[in-house]
Amino acid sequence: MLSARTSSVTKNSVLNFKRSIATSYSKTQFTSLSNGITVATESNPAAKSATLGLWVGAGSTSENPYNNGVSNFLNNTIVSGASKEAAKLGLQFGGQTAKEFSAYYTQGLKSSLPQALDLLNAKVSSLDLTSESVLKQRELTTKAIEHFEENDHAGRVLEHLHATAFQNTPLALPTRGTVETVSELIQSDLESFHRKNFVSSNTVVVASGDVKHEDVVELVEKKLKIQTGSAPEIAEAKFLGSEVRLRDDTLPAAWVSIAHQGEALSSPNYYVAKVAAQIFGDYNYHEPISRNLGVKLTGVVGENHLADTYNHFSLSYKSGGLWGFATETSNVQILDDLTHFTLKEWNRLSVSITETEVARGKQLLKNKVLFELSSPLAVANDIGSSVLATGRRASADEIFAQIDKVDVSSIKKWAGSRLWDQDIAVAGTGQIEDLFDYMRLRNETALLRW
């Protein structure tokens, strides 16, 4: 019921210019309790709402091929089971599943924080499932997965990119699971997954917005009961150059993603890879600003309408990452030109990237890192995911200092080892007849001369 509601709310970006209130990025405060739980908060004097939640290190990487989708299924079941009670208390209850974590949170006024924690304790920490709600949520979850697979082509390509790049390692499993795996899961699967993963050292209590650290710590000490235990081991991710093609000429466009092995969250080159991706950035053929961007690639793409949109990414996880781009184009006959010119531009990172391009990328990245934290929920999510993955969260000043350290030589050195003549992962769907075969794309990762 809930997922049907939230997924069908359409947002019109033209109508919604969001003011950024979470500009404070004040310091994150941490307390580690004796039972192993970490409490991390960031208060924002401008906020009127308070977000409180549990971030648990249990996403699709904690699953195996047989229970794939269990974290997403569990998330949907808990959230739908809690939302009515939450609404009566004036709280909005929400959840999210990602590759390496799942989140359960309430949004409300500061005064209702104690009730919010009671609710999280009753519904998330000590699981209370009914077989009826499990069956109903299984049906809704498989429907949502079906909807995703049939409609969100860009999202599907990104999942397949992970699946092929990290094949046979935990990062390969689709975040939502598949219809086949989820429809086989039963209540005891949810319960045993919960028992194994929802333990104190695998959980971070996060609060952001109109909150006070001491108050939250006191509440957690008094009310939250999480079974003690240590986080289960998760196998390392391993990158393998490979491709997956889901050609479907009935779709109106082509969706393609190409990526090299990227950087893990804790990698010293994390920000080098981020800056490198930001140098090429995002592109939308229909937006007038795209013609004026200071990126060489946009010139050839715009003049020949090689792509409708593209975005460069540097995705990072605990033990691996992907660096590349994802594109959508309705001009499917010249897909080969698009991949050629894009990969040739990537070559330049190793040999001829300029001071100006790097400086521009650094400045845009600094802004982007902060712009993304535009609401207490976005801040909470950033705190929760970084503390789970790396045990800490860098302050804005620290991030800026790290970005400042990146220069032309570090970009060239990094690109020389990660991109230049290195294997790639390729995924595509839609009309991809003109997507070159693997070896031709692979050969474009280096130049014969420069």
């Binding site: 509601r5 069908s8 210019f17 950024s20 209130i21 709402s49 400045q363």
Partner: protein, 363 residues
């Protein structure tokens, strides 16, 4: 002392300026112009003017603006709703002088070059419309506004080419709406004294004087209308009720009730659109026609029999707090006294497989 002098200056140029400073590194600067679609002299002219923002000005070309802003890392946007055009910039705090200057030049010095209109502005406007029309909910929303208010708030949001608009007409409209009295500058993460100082040095101080177009009278409401459009894709059935400002609280709570787990009915979206002097409550059910038909009947049955919605007032305050954090100009609504709701007259729209969607008199 200094701030008092600056405050006098701010009255000198007759533009309303407000700013709140926060610790942190990011600032948002918005110029709100009372020039949304309700004030359009021709359908869609606000949208075209909004798309002309950040094109060439006599002070700097669009290319130069983009490239300069990239070096600071900031972002521009020009968006519209029915009330206003919002010109906004998000940037790191030290960029304030540049962005005040750049935004003011857009208002005062846009060149309106003849080639930009067909080559840049029209294609971009067409793109906005096609993207919006891909959603049947957007189409229903437009139609409900038109049925409920006819003119003014009922004007279409985007330019659709039904009424031809010339470059001259856009320039005239710009001259009419970009005046000192018709704009408001809102800063967040910005020191107000600094903002006033930079504004007084910018071309905003040279904007012509005019009058505020902001509507002060309550628009006429029309109720009991119905409209149906055949379309492929998902079907939508939607209900709208025009709302007086004093009833905003009831409809805020009602929206929170309908979209939460407190109610047993399935709606895709329900919200109160708040405009100056009036609002429009809209409720959408989207999906397969037979399901939509079943669900909208249940919703209508529930609403006509009257519901106790007092249980949703806490949730409504939470939603309002979240919305006010994200909006440029937050509305204040007190929802504590709301008790129950009963649907009276309403406007109704069906889009999609209309042979399988109910008529208003069947609800």
């Amino acid at each position: 002392m200094l701030s008092r002098r600056l405050a006098t200056q701010s009255r000198g140029y007759a533009t309303k300026v407000s700013a709140k400073d926060f610790p942190g590194k990011v600032s948002t600067l918005t110029i709100k112009v009372n020039a949304g679609s309700r004030y359009a002299t021709k359908d869609g002219i606000s949208h075209l003017l909004s798309r002309f923002n950040f094109q060439n000005t006599t002070a700097r070309s669009a290319l130069r603006l983009t490239r300069e802003s990239e070096l600071l890392g900031g972002e521009f946007s020009s968006t519209i709703d029915r009330d206003s055009i919002y010109l906004s910039a998000k940037f790191l705090k030290e960029g304030l002088p540049y962005y005040v200057n750049a935004l003011s030049d857009v208002l005062y010095k846009t060149s309106f070059k003849p080639h930009e209109f067909p080559e840049v502005v029209l294609p971009a406007a067409k793109y906005d419309l096609s993207k919006a029309n891909a959603s049947p909910i957007f189409k229903a929303d437009e139609l409900l506004h038109s049925l409920s208010f006819r003119n003014g708030l009922g004007n279409p949001l985007y330019y659709d080419g039904v009424q031809k608009i010339s470059l001259e007409e856009i320039k005239e409209f710009a001259n009419k709406v970009y005046t000192k009295e018709n704009i408001e500058v809102i800063g967040s993460g910005i020191n107000e004294a600094d903002l006033n100082k930079f504004i007084s040095e910018s071309s905003l101080a040279q904007l012509p004087t005019g009058s505020s177009l902001s509507s002060s009278s309550v628009p006429k409401f029309y109720q009991g209308a119905e409209s149906r459009i055949r379309a492929s894709g998902e079907s939508v059935a939607a209900i709208a009720v025009p709302v007086k400002t004093e009833e905003f609280a009831t409809f805020e709570v009602f929206s929170a009730y309908l979209t939460s787990a407190l109610s047993d009915v399935v709606v895709s979206d329900a919200k109160l659109n708040k405009y100056s002097q009036a609002g429009l409550f809209t409720l959408f059910v989207k999906g397969d026609a037979s399901q939509v038909s079943e669900n909208i009947k249940k919703v209508a049955l529930l609403l006509k029999s009257g519901v106790d919605i007092s249980s949703a007032s806490g949730l409504a305050s939470t939603k309002l707090a979240l919305a006010s954090e994200a909006s440029v100009v937050p509305h204040q609504v007190d929802v504590s006294k709301v008790k129950d709701f009963k649907l009276g007259k309403f406007n109704y729209v069906a889009i999609g497989d209309i042979n399988n969607l109910p008529f208003a008199d069947e609800l």
